[in-house]
């Protein structure tokens, strides 16, 4: 661990705690020890941080939605209604939990817990303060996308268990919509992986040129195997090294990703499964009390997961121009404690809230589609668009159209100037 001024400043400030500080320093010096990982999982990028961030994100979303409609939004709880989502959840926890006589009580109770844990696990993959999330192994992009289909499964199961007529119709609709929008989501999530693959397969001298500019690549940096391309960590790292977020390279797939994401999280143009005016609350009709609280929290978490994945894949995750102040090159990419945390998180939050603003804006703009229009929209428009996008990228990279190398250098030069 390089010489670290941080601890000595602390010792200077608090001489009387010198004994505890030295112990703490010893603990935190350990690379990959248990306490550090526990802290990561439970507190910082883990459960606590993420759940409060998702509540804040819901508040932010409702405020933007309201302000766009020229009204005020939640106001009276806390400063400008910031505690409103928390208040909702606490109120729901206190409410009585009515179970329908016909429904299978036990499995209906299990579903929200399953949904809650699923969304928390999904959020572990998102890189918050450094280019790799808490859990990051080779090929974790595919695992994340698979978990989102599992989340769709819980939605269908709850509606089915609740044996309510509205629930039945809501489940059928949820099934159709979530499956139809799984394909464009996966396709558009794979485009960054394709870009990373082409970036690394480029002739070596370009790499060397790049290396001189940015210094050494991280040791595990040369992913030639298929699984290494599909890791979120490599995607964010490549965006950091190239210096261009992939949204500039493949804007269409970012659009497709956002639309498919809104269908996954059931935001307004696509909230057909729980359309309030038609079938009361769709698959959520029979859930109340604690179950509903868990479902609302897990839907917020999934909302945050969507926005986080969008930032990681397209906007370059925690990477940002102010990234390399006072950090050694090796630490820069591995995210050393503590500076890496601060800048990485700030950039992550800025980008997540930008994505949430876009989604909130889209939510205000559209009326709700009918279920047949939603499904038609997916099969007729979104999937061909995603294929087209991949096609364009392949041809552009493979045939070296309009001098890919030259454009590459030009882009590099612009990035360097930022």
């Amino acid at each position: 661990m390089a010489f670290d001024p941080f601890w000595y400043i602390l010792l200077y400030l608090f001489p009387q705690y010198s004994s505890t500080l030295t112990i703490l320093q010893y603990i935190f010096q350990q690379q990959g020890n248990v306490l550090m990982d526990l802290f990561k999982i439970i507190v910082f990028p883990g459960i606590l941080f993420v759940s409060f961030l998702s509540l804040f994100a819901e508040w932010y979303d409702r405020k933007i939605y309201a302000r766009l409609q020229n009204r005020v939004g939640p106001f009276h709880t806390g400063y400008h209604g910031i505690l409103q989502p928390l208040a909702d959840i606490i109120k729901l926890l206190a409410k009585e939990d009515v179970v329908q006589s016909g429904a299978e009580a036990r499995s209906l109770a299990a579903a929200p817990i399953f949904a809650m844990t699923l969304s928390l696990v999904m959020l572990m993959f998102i890189p918050v303060y450094r280019s790799a999330g808490i859990i990051s192994f080779e090929g974790d992009l595919i695992v994340v996308l698979f978990l989102s289909t599992l989340f769709a499964l819980t939605v269908i199961l709850t509606g089915w268990f609740s044996t309510n007529r509205f629930g039945e119709v809501g489940t059928a609709r949820a099934g159709m919509q979530l499956i139809a929008y799984e394909i464009p989501l996966v396709l558009s999530a794979l485009t960054p992986a394709i870009i990373v693959a082409y970036y690394y397969s480029v002739p070596v001298q370009v790499n060397n040129y790049l290396l001189t500019v940015y210094g050494t690549l991280p040791l595990t940096a040369i992913p030639t195997t298929l699984s290494s391309i599909l890791t979120i960590a490599n995607i964010t790292q490549t965006q950091a090294t190239i210096g261009i977020p992939f949204i500039l390279v493949a804007p269409i797939s970012f659009g497709v990703f956002i639309i498919a994401l809104m269908a996954e999280i059931e935001k307004v143009p696509f909230d057909v499964p729980e359309a309030h005016t038609e079938i009361v609350a769709g698959w959520q009709t029979e859930i109340s009390g604690k179950k509903l609280a868990l479902y609302r929290l897990s839907s917020d978490l999934e909302y945050l997961w969507g926005a986080g994945l969008a930032t990681a894949l397209f906007l370059g995750g925690p990477w940002g121009p102010g990234w390399d102040i006072g950090l050694s090159t090796l630490d820069r990419l591995m995210g050393a404690f503590p500076w890496g945390y601060v800048f990485g998180t700030i950039w992550f939050l800025v980008k997540v809230f930008a994505v949430i603003f876009i989604i909130a804006n889209l939510r205000t703009l559209f009326a709700r589609f009918r279920i047949d229009q939603v499904v038609q929209g997916a099969w007729k428009y979104l999937i061909p668009l995603a294929f087209l996008n991949i096609l364009i990228l392949q041809t552009v990279f493979y045939f070296d159209l309009f001098g890919w190398q030259s454009t590459y250098y030009a882009l590099l030069w612009i990035a360097y100037m930022i």
Partner: protein, 129 residues
């Protein structure tokens, strides 16, 4: 000719503007001057004839004899005074119209919610002029 996101310019124009909604308990919009609120009775002009009680569409006005907390010297010959049950009153201003001496008048007070129905019974504030 369908233009996607047709409402976007309107949304962005309204985004920075101050929201239209008013915080009722804290900020109050001034009531219109023609508003028909609670009744006001001019004791000196009232002769206790009871036409307002007859004309009231919902039968909210009841003639009761002169309560003692009213100034005795203004007591009219019939010794009757209208009592308005605001629970039944429609605020339609028919009593003000049909009163021969125009002793009744509508104020602009519209916040009349109370917990107890009894409190709704007798809310006619009196004027002595």
């Amino acid at each position: 000719m369908p233009r996607p996101a047709a409402m976007e310019p309107e949304l962005l124009r309204n985004f920075p503007r101050k929201p239209f909604t008013v915080f009722y308990p804290f900020e109050r919009l001034p009531p219109a001057e023609g508003l028909r609120g609670r009744q006001k009775l001019y004791l000196k002009r009232c002769v206790g004839c009871g036409t307002c009680a007859k004309d009231c569409p919902s039968g909210a006005i009841e003639m009761i004899d002169w309560p003692d907390e009213f100034p005795q010297e203004l007591k009219n010959k019939a010794g009757k005074v209208p009592k308005v049950d605001l629970g039944k009153c429609l605020f339609c201003e028919q009593c003000v119209e049909s009163c021969p001496r125009d002793a009744l008048e509508m104020t602009q007070e519209y916040e009349l919610a109370t917990f107890d129905r009894k409190a709704m019974e007798w809310i006619v504030d009196m004027e002595t002029e």
